[in-house]
């Protein structure tokens, strides 16, 4: 090596080092403090078919947002905690997120019971909570810091009863799971039946861990019911479907929006064919007309999720999608301030989510109407829009 080349190499090396320093310095400057958002889902336990897609969804959004440069330059950090669907665990998880991680907002919990258990905590700590659970008791009466993204139980009941009225069904049997979701549904079903000229001829329940519902269904079979409504959110609801076919019952079976995971159809097998239920449009996005305002959002979410995780999307993951995007929207607009985030979400109008088009207001923390539901049915193991 001559002296000249030695000098040249030295100069090049110096330039490279200097460049590296400059680049790393600018990266260091750009890496602003992350925005922390908490998420509490029932990832394991009896409600894992809710919590797992929710966890997957928020992790996917976190990645996408950060890959696109974060929120106003700040990376998004979603801290996910598992509640196992248990109230005590949900309480400690939410306290951890608030007190140790100092999150700006919390998404979840997945279940109505766990949500009701953590409401007193977020109300006192003044942290916005966007629940992914359905029960109306979460937002009625309105709680200052609490919102939810799933559609209302009562709207699901209205859609089912309207359909029944159109098709001349007036005597129904209801069978509900003894969980917060099932119990709230049972109350709404009983309350609204007279308004639609419907009589409930049998009112049965089953536990979330039961493995056989033949006893309840045999009782229903002995009545003059023209249809059965099965209202539940746990995997046990698929057993009702199977048991009905085993007992040779041919009257139509209606399910709640808690049926919105294709896994329930797979668990029930052939018996699931022809089930009618109200759900958000996500499940049947392929059969939606192109001019539907939600179509673009829904197909994008479905495509991204299914490409990443190799499993079908479910409405539950969609609830988490809506909740996290509401928070992101708020963070973009008002920055890291819990009170401002809350105020922003309360005034969100026309937000196109997976569950519907959200319009929040000070007296409505659900933001959705019954139009958010579409009546779906199961055909060849798939969800399709009922015509």
């Amino acid at each position: 090596m001559t002296r000249k080349t030695k000098v040249a190499t030295g100069v090049v090396a110096a330039i490279v080092v200097a460049l590296l320093l400059v680049v790393s310095f600018s990266v260091w400057c750009a890496a602003l403090k992350p925005y922390k958002v908490g998420a509490v889902f029932a990832i394991t336990g009896g409600a894992s078919w809710l919590g797992e897609p929710e966890r997957n969804t928020v992790k996917m959004i976190e990645e996408n947002v950060n890959a696109a440069g974060g929120i106003n330059g700040h990376p998004l950090q979603v801290i996910v905690e598992d509640t196992v669907g248990d109230e005590t665990k949900a309480v400690t998880a939410v306290k951890k997120l608030i007190e140790r991680d100092k999150v700006l907002a919390i998404i979840g919990p997945s279940r109505s019971g766990t949500t009701l258990a953590v409401i007193p905590i977020v109300q006192r700590a003044k942290v916005p909570l966007i629940s992914c659970a359905a029960a109306e008791a979460i937002v009625i009466p309105v709680k200052q810091w609490v919102f939810k993204t799933p559609q209302k139980d009562s709207d699901a009941v209205i859609r089912i009863y309207e359909y029944m009225r159109e098709h001349g069904i007036s005597k129904v049997a209801i069978i509900t799971g003894t969980t917060g979701f099932g119990d709230q549904g049972r109350k709404q079903l009983k309350k609204m039946a007279p308004d639609y000229g419907i009589t409930i001829v049998a009112d049965e329940t089953y536990g979330p861990k039961d493995t056989d519902m033949t006893v309840q269904l045999t009782k229903i079979k002995g009545t003059k019911a023209q249809a059965v409504i099965n209202w539940s959110i746990v995997p046990a609801q698929a057993i009702v479907v199977k048991n009905m076919r085993q007992l040779g019952m041919t009257i139509p079976l209606f399910q709640s929006h808690g049926f919105g995971n294709i896994k329930y159809v797979q668990a029930a097998g052939k018996a699931a064919e022809g089930i009618i239920f109200p759900a958000g449009r996500l499940l049947a996005v392929d059969t939606l007309p192109n001019d539907n305002p939600q179509k673009e959002v829904l197909s994008r979410y479905k495509k991204e999720y299914e490409a990443k995780y190799g499993e079908s999307v479910s409405t539950f993951g969609g609830h988490a999608w809506d909740a996290l995007h509401l928070v992101i929207l708020a963070l973009r607009a008002v920055g890291p301030d819990r009170a401002k985030i809350r105020n922003f979400i309360e005034n969100v109008k026309g937000f196109v989510g997976t569950g519907g088009i959200f319009n929040y207001s000070p007296d409505d923390h659900t933001g959705l109407t019954k139009e958010a539901f579409e009546m779906l049915t199961v055909k060849n193991g798939k969800f399709v829009v009922l015509k």
Binding site: E87, K95, K96, S112, G113, A117, G207
Partner: protein, 326 residues
């Protein structure tokens, strides 16, 4: 009570009193509050199982009875939490007494099954009596305890409240163990027939200790209700009875200290393991497995022996495992 126990009690009291001053974070405090609440139940369970040798798979139901009685009386009948706590104790004690008379005539697996069935019945009542219990959705807005004008609504205050009750309960229980009653209980464990021949009224002692353990669980239930302020049946199911049993077994069945240690370990460990995310259950499970293989007498007693004697206690399972490898 013995010098050793007195010293341990003193050390525990000091640790309990100082701890919140060091870790004044509501999240950690709330975990320690749960440790305290569960400790009350496991102290009772340790008296019942470790000393008197009677198994119960229904402790979660007594815990639930205390919680629901407190919750319902304060929300639906607007009673003061203090009066509700006392009434809950009497209700639970009454139920335990009535259940205890026939159930404690049974032994071993049959007693386990009877208490299990009792737990299920209570669980079903919580689910079905919707007008009072709110059914599966539960009910909330349970008021906090009040000491004069002093509202026990922060984790810091509630921590001291719960742990003072735990310390009092612990002192009473240690006194009981080292009394004539305690010796009578242990004689039942050793051999019921022998105890009977020696003039111990085993039937009465068994019911007494069963009722006592139920009372402890009821107090714990009331403390839970006025802390979380929301109740639903899920918390008081069969799996919680099993969890309580595991706490006592892991800590060391034959000692109330073991019960507290086991409770602390099994309540704090899952929270600590949150940092491992999806692997937490795996680590949790293997930790329990190792404790039961290496320290079959329980974590507390095993560790105690290890420190004092410097060798691992006799573990039959470990021996067998080593033999099969040879």
């Amino acid at each position: 009570m013995g010098k050793k126990n007195l010293l341990s009690l003193l050390i525990l009291s000091i640790v309990v009193m100082i701890l919140p001053l060091i870790i004044n974070n509501p999240y950690y405090l709330s975990i320690l509050i749960f440790v305290g609440i569960y400790s009350l139940i496991t102290i009772g369970l340790s008296l019942l199982m470790g000393y008197a040798g009677q198994i119960s798979l229904g402790q979660a139901a007594f815990f639930g009875l205390g919680a629901y009685t407190s919750g319902i009386l304060t929300t639906k009948f607007a009673l003061s939490p203090w009066i509700a706590l006392i009434i809950a104790i009497f209700v639970t004690a009454g139920v335990a007494f009535l259940i205890g008379i026939p159930a404690l005539k049974l032994k071993g697996h049959y007693l386990a099954m009877a208490t299990l069935a009792f737990g299920q019945i209570i669980f079903i009542i919580f689910n079905q009596e919707i007008t009072y219990t709110g059914g599966p959705s539960g009910f909330g807005q349970i008021p906090y305890f009040k000491l004069g004008k002093f509202m026990l609504d922060s984790d810091f205050r509630y921590y001291y409240f719960v742990w003072i009750i735990v310390l009092i309960t612990l002192t009473l229980s240690l006194n009981l163990i080292h009394s004539r009653v305690g010796r009578a209980l242990r004689s039942i464990h050793g051999g019921e027939i022998t105890a009977n021949i020696m003039g111990v009224n085993t039937a009465r002692y068994k019911i007494d200790v069963f009722v006592l353990s139920a009372v402890y669980a009821s107090i714990a239930g009331s403390l839970y209700a006025h802390f979380v302020t929301f109740l639903s049946p899920g918390t008081f199911g069969f799996s919680f009875s099993i969890a309580l049993l595991t706490m006592v077994a892991v800590g060391g069945m034959a000692s109330v200290w073991g019960a507290i240690m086991g409770t602390a370990l099994l309540t704090i460990l899952p929270e600590f393991l949150r940092i491992f995310h999806d692997y937490d259950i795996l680590i949790y499970g293997s930790t329990l497995l190792f404790i039961m293989i290496l320290l079959p007498e329980g974590f507390f007693i095993g560790l105690f022996n290890l420190i004092r004697k410097g060798n691992l206690p006799q573990s039959h399972l470990l021996k067998k495992l080593l033999e099969t490898r040879r």
